[in-house]
């Protein structure tokens, strides 16, 4: 009985070592790639850009990460990308670790700016330039960042409101699929600002259970027949919950969404979804690396104290074909 168990331990330990090795190899390979890409312009691998987001590895953040990796490869700099799954304390801990770990530039998302303020102070005290990305457009100056790259959530909501007005709808439902994301609330506030007749709905199941989210949205649509549009704040919510809910209810309901997915673009092409507001998160990953690089080699501070907006860009039936190709490649 004991020998097989010992063997199991050995096998498992080997697996760990292999996992460790392959992890190391992956990192080596990406560094190697970056270095070779930089062969023309010199080796910048001594520049270590750290991007610590509140991301969760989902469809949205994987595209932003891809943008950062592409920029690091194009410039030949080293990239350290880490996510913290919406846990502000973990993000603060990562930033502090990065400051001691030799980051030469720091890009952070700031959905909860108070929580990372002290950690960022350590970075500025150590002379590490900071760029905020994705969320934090209102507070980047207070955090000591040279600029912000992202979409203003309120403006995105306002633009959606104008679009719905053009389409002639009467009442919009704004389902909030993440309880702790302040940006979602700002989008709903934005659409209320330009459209007016908007009702918020807290969807408890969120992205974790789209079938349940569909049921929640459907129940709301059934109970209030005056609702004739849904502003989904996420492409998976749009295609996986809002659209099937609208189809089940059986009256014409227009759907708009924030952010893209392959499915959402197909639905836009087919006319099932009216539009998507694209914050172009590939650029949110790409630009901070470039900005921090320029700051490092040439002392540039871009943005002039203003945030740099990557959106909102609209995806409608007119440009869906082009976007679809890029979304399939994972860069839109």
């Amino acid at each position: 009985m004991k020998a097989p168990k010992l063997a199991l331990v050995v096998v498992a330990s080997t697996a760990l070592v292999l996992a460790g090795c392959s992890g190391g190899t992956t990192a080596d390979q990406s560094t190697a790639k970056s270095t070779s890409a930089a062969a023309g312009g010199g080796d910048n691998s001594a520049i270590k850009i750290c991007m610590y987001t509140h991301g969760d590895g989902g469809g949205f953040w994987s595209v932003a990460k891809k943008g950062a990796e592409k920029a690091a490869a194009d410039l030949g700099v080293t990239l350290d990308y880490q996510e913290s799954n919406n846990d502000a304390q973990k993000q603060a801990q990562l930033i502090e670790a990065g400051v001691t770990g030799g980051c030469t530039g720091l890009a952070v998302s700031a959905p909860n700016p108070d929580a990372i303020k002290d950690a960022l102070k350590k970075a500025t005290a150590a002379g590490i330039p900071i760029v905020t990305m994705n969320s934090g457009s209102a507070v980047f100056r207070d955090l000591g960042a040279i600029t912000h790259v992202g979409q203003d959530e309120f403006i995105a909501g306002q633009e959606a409101g104008k679009k719905f007005k053009e389409m002639g709808v009467k009442k919009v439902l704004c389902p909030l699929h993440e309880a702790n994301n302040i940006g979602l609330q700002q989008r709903c506030d934005g659409i209320k600002d330009t459209f007016g007749n908007v009702e918020n709905l807290q969807v408890t199941a969120g992205l974790a259970d789209l079938a349940k989210s569909q049921a929640e949205i459907q129940a709301k649509l059934e109970s209030d027949p005056s609702i004739d549009a849904v502003f989904a704040l996420n492409a998976d919510i749009a295609t996986g919950a809002a659209l099937p809910a609208a189809e089940a209810v059986g009256r014409p309901i227009k759907i708009g969404t924030v952010d893209l997915s392959g499915e959402a673009v197909t639905d836009i092409k087919d006319g099932k979804i009216a539009f998507a507001i694209d914050q172009q998160q590939f650029a949110q990953g790409y630009l901070p690396v470039v900005l921090l690089y320029l700051n490092k080699i040439n002392g540039h501070v871009l943005g002039g104290g203003q945030p740099m907006y990557t959106g909102p860009g609209f995806v409608t039936k007119d440009n869906a074909d082009l976007i679809q190709k890029l979304a399939e490649a994972g860069t839109r």
Binding site: A12, G20, Y81, A97, G102, A115
Partner: protein, 351 residues
Amino acid sequence: MSTTTAPAATGTDERLVAVSRFTRVLRRPELGALLGAIVIYVMFALVDTTGVFVTIAGTARWTDVAASVGIVAVPVALLMISGEFDLSAGVMVGTSGLFAGLLTTQYGFSMWPAIGLTLLFAAGIGLVNGWLVMLTGLPSFIVTLAMFFSLRGINLGVTKMLTDTVRVAGIDKVPGYDSAASVFASTFWAPYDFRTSVLWWLAITVVATTVLTKLRFGNWVYAVGGDQTAARNTGVPVRRTKIAMFVCTSLAAALVGIITLLRLKSMQAGQGVGEEFTFIIAAVVGGCLLTGGFGSAIGASIGASIIGMAFIGIAYAGWNTDWSWLFLGVILFIAVLVNTFIGRRAQGARK
């Protein structure tokens, strides 16, 4: 208790067989975790790309992560030894942080009274958990799962109702913030900046170990987790012991909630959700049996250290984060496997 004084006339009673010191060390619940921690430390020291992991500064970083896990993992381990679970411990971190945050920012309390009331409130929640488990006879898994969902709903509902947003902010403007922050959320030993939470973690580990090994109450904890009926028959107050453990767990979660609130100067309604598994994992990696009656406080703290080392180690190693959960899963699995393997061998004589 008096039964053990009977002379071992037959000479074959296994409980009276003398065991060597070596076997006794092998039988310590935390031995496997300690070996696992050493292996993981060496591994991350080797794959580190920054050269910081093994330095004092690097240690300050990973103990920071370990402390916020360990403070709750230790009482969670004691609760598990007594044969119960608390799935509401993670969300309780958020609840107590929000509770203190709302008292100060919405109702004008200054920091210290708010902290006092938060601890009282947390003790109450622990009491409700324990009392419901005892009263209904339902598994604590179910009772505290219900508490988990309830608190999660209350966290979001109340926070949105009172603040119109999903977080409480501006804590650093509350009277008494500075003195409270210096106790709960400051740093020591510049320039390495260890977190004061590390001291709280060490203190709780020492106190819990003392209670478990030196006090009669510690024997009760093991007894009620080992065999509840036998414990009751020998006069151990089963109900009180278990409820006390629920209260301790809830209080520890509140402590982390207060530390987090003061540190982040704000609290999100979702803070802590999901952490209950991290606490249980730390306790299990540290040698606690899921069936109760076996484990240690030091083991839980070593388990918390492993989680802290893995979190910071993966960042310093520069591993692709797409694989982070896999690394964590493999590490935890191996730690528990080693633990179980050593435990079985050590107890081979007994079983």
